[in-house]
Subunit: 237 residues, 4 copies
């Protein structure tokens, strides 16, 4: 039986602005000039309560609403990023990591948006277990890891200069959350004249709807969205 | 007859992440420390073909798809921004403008994303009529106008430093397009620790769906989304 | 009679750190990838009192102390920059200008150091005659001119991104003052991984001693210092 | 017997531009809003050959020329910084460190100027002993340490944003080398609208002449130069 047809990345994830536009061209990726960037795949975001039944009803419902995210992370996103890391380490280009972490014990160095109450309030000391990249994707010695207290991995770090110094022209973005730090990083990279690729099955948001919505918004304008298998066909050996 | 009930901005435009979260607090705006930023409301985006019937069918359909945007701009967005400008000029704080424009005659200074083919390909020489702010919102002498070849009004300008030098802590964002330059600017401002407010009826995207989607994504995390009438209640006299 | 011997730029302007170091290599300049940057050669810095004898004695002495600077500017620096501009306009690469200027009528957008009392207190509205580039070096339409309220022409502008977008790898710096805005710009450019050349006879400081001291400090570490005639031998046709 | 008269910092280290200018005003330092920044006091710069007599004559002479620097560092600069650190840790404000270090094993992330041959060629992997801050000034857990591959501690790091987020308005600069990384950092800080103080006896250059020359160049324009005992009189308790 034939595999179900899936539209080419070249015409997928289109918003109103690009309806009817021509197909995206094949990217030309040069060995050593393309970097893999893994954004915010940190222990804290994969943590779950040990005993959900002990939670008050509202929190239990809230926790349940995150089930889809965790399934996607473990079933698709983390394995996909691991596969890409392996391929980049084999020689395509450097693997780099950004993670949210503050340098001071009281979080005073965090940007305003990460100090405000609510979902985005983040207090992740840089040496805490919670702020580390998940073990399945652990950086190797010698790989660049930047810490940030911002959403864009460029605004609050020296990553732009590192990319420039290393001769990187194309950045492949993966990680979480598609609509937040991934989108902010992609937008900054495009503004700074990098060629950006986002791997759909290497990213996730709180819901698939938010994930897909933001991909449609950033695709073609700030980046090319494709799947890991699409990218692997373009990566230099 | 009573006016139709509209939910308070404090619980509106919420995404998955903020479902069930407490109401947003009232912003505290201090005279001279809050700026109004008008983003990319330029002639080029309001231009329409003189005779639509002369267009080939596909372009005609494409043009028709933009009718809603133009109606919203002329009926709601531009009048709302004009009202806000008047109030800020009366003393609340400075009015500033960002516009997309290149400094070189061949556009060589544009960022990569604005050189690529498609919707986002922009070639707007800074002294062309097309790149000027629309007459209804024309900047006055002495008001700051920055030009950019990026989407974020911070990444490719010195606006962050200008805000800092002028003692601005809160930035009220208006303009187009909600999901593109407005969102990119809001994200940069939040990362740079400014308090950001986005005025829903002073922004527009290609479609209302894109507009609302991105507002839900950025609200509470990077900014507070409210309507002009909400803001006017908070602005210092 | 033979011309007086002048040491090659390759071993000149050396400080303690580079005593005994090998000669600097020949720069390799590629057409279109090298830019000429003219820094702060503005009317205000060339202005002199109409009638010096009318000044109080202390101010008259102070004015007289500046005679050497003005002689050097008119006799050497401005003619040298004019010659370089001509050569760059003939095709070597773009000519760009930075000038100190504020965008607001009260100078509120200036950086702190330009608001403090003393020599560096600067109030140069961008549309004033005083803030314009001197007529002998006037920018042509289509040439990039950035305004700044900082000393480094990179910190307070989008010049770094413009250089990157235009594919510029080498920047030739000229202008005033050697120890202030020129040095600050050179240091920023080097930190941002540009190859920098400073033209000794196209720069000036308040005194020749300050000029030479700072050239010795920045030479080899942040830039190569040479004379215009040296550069002309390396410029692409 | 009376102590030898030493001129007040308020009129010392003046260059041509500030000859005859009024005295500098007393700085107003607020608890928690002033930070101490220790720049590049790293093991590599204090290292000396074990047996100088084993060196070839030229290198031996070169090494001897550095004797003054090392005497100043051990006799004056390091003890002075240690004294300042103690006072800041007692509550005046945060102590922060910048050090030159690359993140990649081959130094590919270094800026161009640190890859060029000569004195400034630096290859200091971030986890090497050579790149650590000297033990006498070792950072405590929870103190911010930024790594950079640039000379300015702002250009190539997120220190500016950290200062802003922590509410720092005044930065006290110490470290090495006065004419290089210290000066570049001071210039960047001033451009970014921080109030900057440089402690004369907490800085050093390769020679005292270079040290004093650059202090005269940056004093009053970008910073106030004073001695540690002067600062201690202004620091909040």
């Amino acid at each position: 039986m034939a595999a179900p047809h899936r539209p080419s990345w070249k015409t997928a994830w289109r918003s109103f602005y690009y309806a009817g536009a021509p197909e995206a061209p094949d990217p030309v990726l040069v060995k050593g000039k393309v970097a893999l960037l893994v954004i915010d795949v940190q222990n804290t975001y994969l943590a779950r309560p040990e005993d959900r039944s002990a939670l008050p009803p509202l929190e239990r419902a809230r926790e349940a609403a995150w089930d889809g995210f965790h399934e996607r992370m473990h079933g698709i996103v983390i394995p996909t990023i691991a596969r890409l890391i392996e391929r980049f380490r084999a020689g395509a280009g450097p693997v780099m990591f950004a993670r949210i972490a503050c340098l001071t014990p009281d979080g005073a160095d965090r940007s305003l948006s990460q100090k405000k109450p609510g979902w985005n309030n983040l207090f992740l000391p840089h040496d805490s277990e919670a702020s580390q990249v998940v073990p399945a994707l652990a950086p190797r010695p010698g790989e660049v890891v930047v810490t940030k207290t911002t959403d864009s991995a460029l605004t609050g770090t020296n990553l732009r200069l590192i990319f420039t110094n290393m001769g990187i022209t194309h950045v492949v973005c993966t990680g979480i959350f598609t609509d937040q730090c991934v989108s902010s990083t992609v937008r900054s990279l495009a503004d700074e004249s990098f060629d950006v690729i986002v791997i759909e099955d290497a990213c996730a948001a709180g819901t698939m709807e938010l994930h897909t919505r933001e991909l449609e918004i950033i695709n073609r304008i700030y980046c090319e969205v494709m799947r890991a298998e699409d990218l692997l066909g373009y990566l230099p050996a």
